[in-house]
């Protein structure tokens, strides 16, 4: 093997090593995601991916992908025909989902427990318009961006 070939092989090796250390698309998960239509508001952990997807001609819906199966799981009691999801977050166990959604002319913050198939509306106090939500992976703290009198604020709520 010539000196030039060795140098070329070395450079290629370095390039590949660099590629291996960089971010790599997870095809097993990206493939089903591509079939969901327009998607936004990701909330990712090692077992779950929550998102809002809009298929052509359909209303936006919250989806929860089980990363062990790379497939959506049903969310009975969460998506409603009279509401439009704006922001979603999921905890590490995939048990609690926090959601900001538009119902009629107002936005509301909702906490959903998947095992109970139950949602509760969380009051915004003092009154304001919720927009984005974050849930700690341990499911114990919720942070929500709220518009009050022209000012954006962040409310924090501890969950038992």
């Amino acid at each position: 093997m010539s000196r030039g070939t060795w140098i070329g092989a070395g450079l290629l090796g370095l390039l590949l090593a660099g590629c291996q250390a960089g971010p790599r698309p997870i095809q097993g998960l990206n493939q089903p995601l591509s079939g969901l239509g327009d998607s936004q508001s990701p909330s990712l952990n090692s077992d779950w991916l929550a998102l809002i997807s809009t298929r052509a001609g359909s209303r936006a819906q919250v989806q929860l992908i089980d990363r062990r199966r790379n497939a959506p799981v049903p969310l009975p009691g969460l998506n409603r025909p009279d509401s439009l999801p704006i922001s979603v977050a999921v905890d590490q166990r995939g048990e609690r989902l926090a959601l900001v959604r538009q119902r009629g002319d107002r936005s509301e913050l909702v906490l959903h427990r998947r095992s109970l198939q139950a949602s509760q509306t969380v009051p915004i106090e003092p009154a304001g318009v919720p927009q984005r939500v974050s849930l700690s992976a341990d499911g114990r703290v919720l942070a929500v961006e709220v518009s009050r009198a022209g000012l954006w604020q962040v409310d924090l709520l501890e969950l038992p």
Binding site: Q20, A21, G22, P23, R24, P25, I26, L29, N30, L33, S34, L36, D38, S39, Q40, S41, P42, S43, L44, N45, S46, L49, L51, Q92, L111, R113, L116, A118, Q120, T121, V122, P123, E125, R132, V133, S134, L135, S136, A137, D138, R140, V141, A143, V144, E145, L151, W152, Q153, V154, D155, L156, L157, E158, L159, P160
Partner: protein, 167 residues
């Protein structure tokens, strides 16, 4: 502000994020660490939208020296112990996703194919994968990338394989 709010299923303890600047300032895009100890959010600093990292309970602001001069920042996301902060920064005329390792001071830029503009991101709490919302040709798509081999895991203390972020 601290109070209690009764709900049908869960009682909630409520507080506002401690202001970090002068008086009542605007705060947006909150992101909690996996353990809920840290809060990242966006505030205006010198007329530029800048990520602020703070202890949730005390409001103490933690330094992020490596992100200066790359505003506007957006879409912050934290790992479990807050070792990693992922966010979008301005790089020339484009938005770029970067991950700051608070334990080492290293910054990891995530290079995307040309024509794909990141709008939002979510870092998995263990720091081993990241979801990016990308705009391509007018449509919004999510893509998930593995970060194994690039970042050490940042897991809850009982599961941790490497050191967490600074206190």
């Amino acid at each position: 502000m601290l109070g209690l709010s009764g709900c049908a299923l869960l009682p909630l303890s409520r507080q506002s994020a401690t202001p970090t600047g002068l008086g009542a300032e605007s705060r947006q895009e909150p992101a909690l660490s996996g353990d809920g100890r840290l809060l990242a959010s966006l505030a205006e600093r010198g007329g530029r939208t800048t990520v602020v990292l703070q202890e949730r309970r005390t409001g103490q602001v933690l330094a992020l020296r490596h992100l200066r001069n790359r505003q506007p920042h957006s879409s912050p996301s934290l790992s479990w112990n807050g070792r990693y902060l992922a966010l979008l920064v301005q790089q020339g005329g484009r938005r770029q996703a970067v991950i700051e390792d608070r334990a080492t001071g290293q910054q990891h830029p995530l290079f995307l194919p040309a024509g794909q503009e990141p709008q939002q991101l979510s870092l998995a709490p263990d720091g081993q994968s990241i979801a990016l919302e990308l705009i391509n040709g007018g449509s919004r798509r999510l893509q998930v990338f593995s970060l194994t081999g690039m970042l050490e895991p940042d897991r809850p203390p009982g599961l941790r394989e490497s050191g967490g972020g600074p206190p």
